[in-house]
Chain length 394, copies 2
């Protein structure tokens, strides 16, 4: 009785989420301390103290009808103005509240902007490896996801193939840097070249191609590496931001879209995105957390914790003989599997109570994603398992 | 550059939301105390004290990683179990956590269930007058909304026309009682007859027809009128509940779906609804408020305040010569316009700084909706305007 589209999805449910559920099942059997769940990007670092203080202060001192009530579908004006000001200070931009739409996380924001832009059969390009949900988000609006194959040398995007695959039907490109699943940050050089290609192809086809930057991991960059702010490189850029990782609030579903004035058809896009927020059933981003994050725009989670995890896992996996690019951001490591079949490798890992996700879920088989946003101890206790796994198959 | 579908929507944006924005504009000119905004169903009664206490207690005493983190897309198991138990106690049902999916309000829940069920061209029936967003929700999944014309005698559904319009393509019926915009509660007699028609037609066509009950106003029933719990009358019932009005939390986007075991294709529906929650970009209902509402299932907003508003507005409008059914629930009054053109009447009202919504937005022209979830004083101050309006056109 369910729809045909959903029948397909029920059969091929998200590997990541299935692994998350599997983790809970195994934890019930073996005890949570003996299951090493690297499957989900669920932050292991507490939200900064500012979050708690903001919640308590707002609840105690602001008007409850206002803080829990409806507001414009795009969000509270003052919250949007505060966010615009904060972006301007950090990146020398010139946004106002009219460039910001509050969203139900980055996932909500991507759905809003894709609903806004896509006609059936429009093409949306993304670079493998990519967050597998892009498939569903694009399919929700009958678009066609065009995947550029992975450059497994350094996991910067494959720009030649990108150039070749842009057509007159290309409506958007989604990029994600720091990247899930590789942890790679797209360099400024990459961004400049990519922008040039986009401009060239817009001219060739007489179209507008929107660059949608999915940025939940912007604040998680190690070794002071800079993450370029894309609106400065390419006019038709729309940014989807989330506080899920920057403030460790993934369950609260709070983020925003930046839609700059210079984006082609700005007026219609901003109106349509406001309406899309409403009719997709979001209605608005959760109200209390809009007010909370507005007070926490300079707060930071303790990224050193993730960095220690990164160093521990990376150095040990390398010493066991695994091949892997050292991640520069986010909290994922994308590791070449010592056997060709990544799904099979994940099944072997599961027998050691290690839960990881096959690269094929990200459009790049032969790799696995390890989400190291876990306790340091979990990594320590899982290391013998990783060692045994590579010995097993060598 | 925006999609063709969104172009249409930008041109015909929600009258209700446009009125809400207009209210803010007028308030800036005339002062908020001189604008009488009856346009939006935004609760004017504070959330019960239990909400604040729950927030503060959870924030102070529970693990911040857990309360703000990801959980299953369907929501926290313990929250769902608590909700099931509470429904069972109130309505002698036998639900478990496996019948509950936490949603981003009722709007999120309706989108999840429609995404789950609808194939393109499937028909979804609703009774006029109806919440205009049903049009968009059904269109999101390429379904066709079939509208049963209003029975303006008592605003109970027109069951003969309903019976005639069910076809082999009818996938669902959406009902909403207490009703927006009329405030009418569908009687048990209505529900019994309606269920009989559904069963008969299921048999005739060899199909399953899902009854989707949109219940944000369940707790707002006056004079101790009972609102029938629909799963007890018809097996293929799915309930969409929201805490927006019952706890005055519309901005927080928190509600749930009830999908009983006896619903046809239960296993697939529950799996698909879980996936739809994820891929539509909700990911999960906001985490903190899942935990908050689980502690407030017996808390109630002060419905007497709405009741006083109802009595004041109803008795005075009648004394001026307006025609109107006395609402039994919710916080809306659906009033016959003294001139035929309801849009024109709303424009006349706007000149008196009274913001109301034309009935045509609800599929029933010749009426206006007055949302009386405002301050008592606002009604008192608006009454001369309502009086002048009817005198103006008589």
């Amino acid at each position: 009785m369910i729809s045909k589209k959903m029948q397909m999805l029920v059969q091929n449910n998200s590997v990541i989420r299935a692994m998350f559920e599997e983790g809970k099942r195994l934890a019930a059997i073996h005890g949570v301390e003996n299951v090493f769940d690297f499957s989900l990007g669920n932050p292991s670092v507490e939200p900064p103290e500012e979050v708690k203080n903001a919640i308590v202060d707002i609840i105690n001192n602001e008007d409850p009808i206002s803080i829990h009530g409806y507001m414009s579908n795009s969000g509270y004006e003052d919250v949007r103005a505060t966010i615009a000001k904060s972006i301007n200070e950090k990146f020398s931009t010139a946004f106002t509240q009219n460039n910001i739409i509050m969203t139900v996380g980055a996932a909500g924001g991507l759905n809003v902007i894709l609903k806004t832009l896509l006609n059936p059969e429009d093409e949306v390009i993304t670079f493998a490896p990519f967050f597998g949900e892009y498939r569903n988000y694009v399919a929700n609006y009958e678009g066609k996801l065009v995947i550029i194959s992975a450059n497994t040398i350094d996991f910067q995007p494959n720009l030649q193939e990108f150039k070749d695959k842009i057509t007159s039907k290309t409506k958007a490109l989604i990029i994600n840097s720091p990247n899930n699943p590789t942890g790679v940050i797209y360099s400024e050089e990459t961004i400049i070249k990519l922008s040039e290609i986009l401009r060239e192809k817009q001219k060739e086809f007489g179209t507008n191609i929107y660059l949608i930057s999915d940025e939940p991991y912007r604040e998680l960059a190690y070794d002071n590496i800079e993450v370029p702010y894309l609106t400065k490189y390419y006019a038709n850029t729309i940014i989807g931001y989330s506080f899920s990782k920057s403030l460790s609030l993934p369950g609260e579903r709070i983020g925003y879209l930046v839609i700059p004035d210079q984006v082609a058809d700005y007026e219609n896009i901003i109106s349509a995105a406001n309406i899309a927020t409403r009719i997709l059933g979001f209605v608005n981003a959760p109200s209390l957390f809009q007010r909370v994050i507005a007070r926490c725009l300079d707060a930071k989670v303790d990224i050193d914790t993730y960095n220690r995890n990164r160093e521990l896992l990376y150095s040990n996996l390398l010493s066991y003989g695994y091949e892997c690019i050292k991640p520069e951001g986010a909290f994922y490591m994308f590791v070449k599997t010592p056997i060709e079949d990544d799904v099979e490798f994940c099944n072997l890992a599961k027998k050691k109570n290690i839960l990881i996700v096959p690269g094929s879920a990200f459009g790049c088989s032969g790799y696995v994603r390890i989400a190291y946003c876990v306790a340091y101890k979990t990594i320590e206790k899982a290391l013998p398992g990783f060692k045994a796994l590579i010995e097993l198959v060598q």
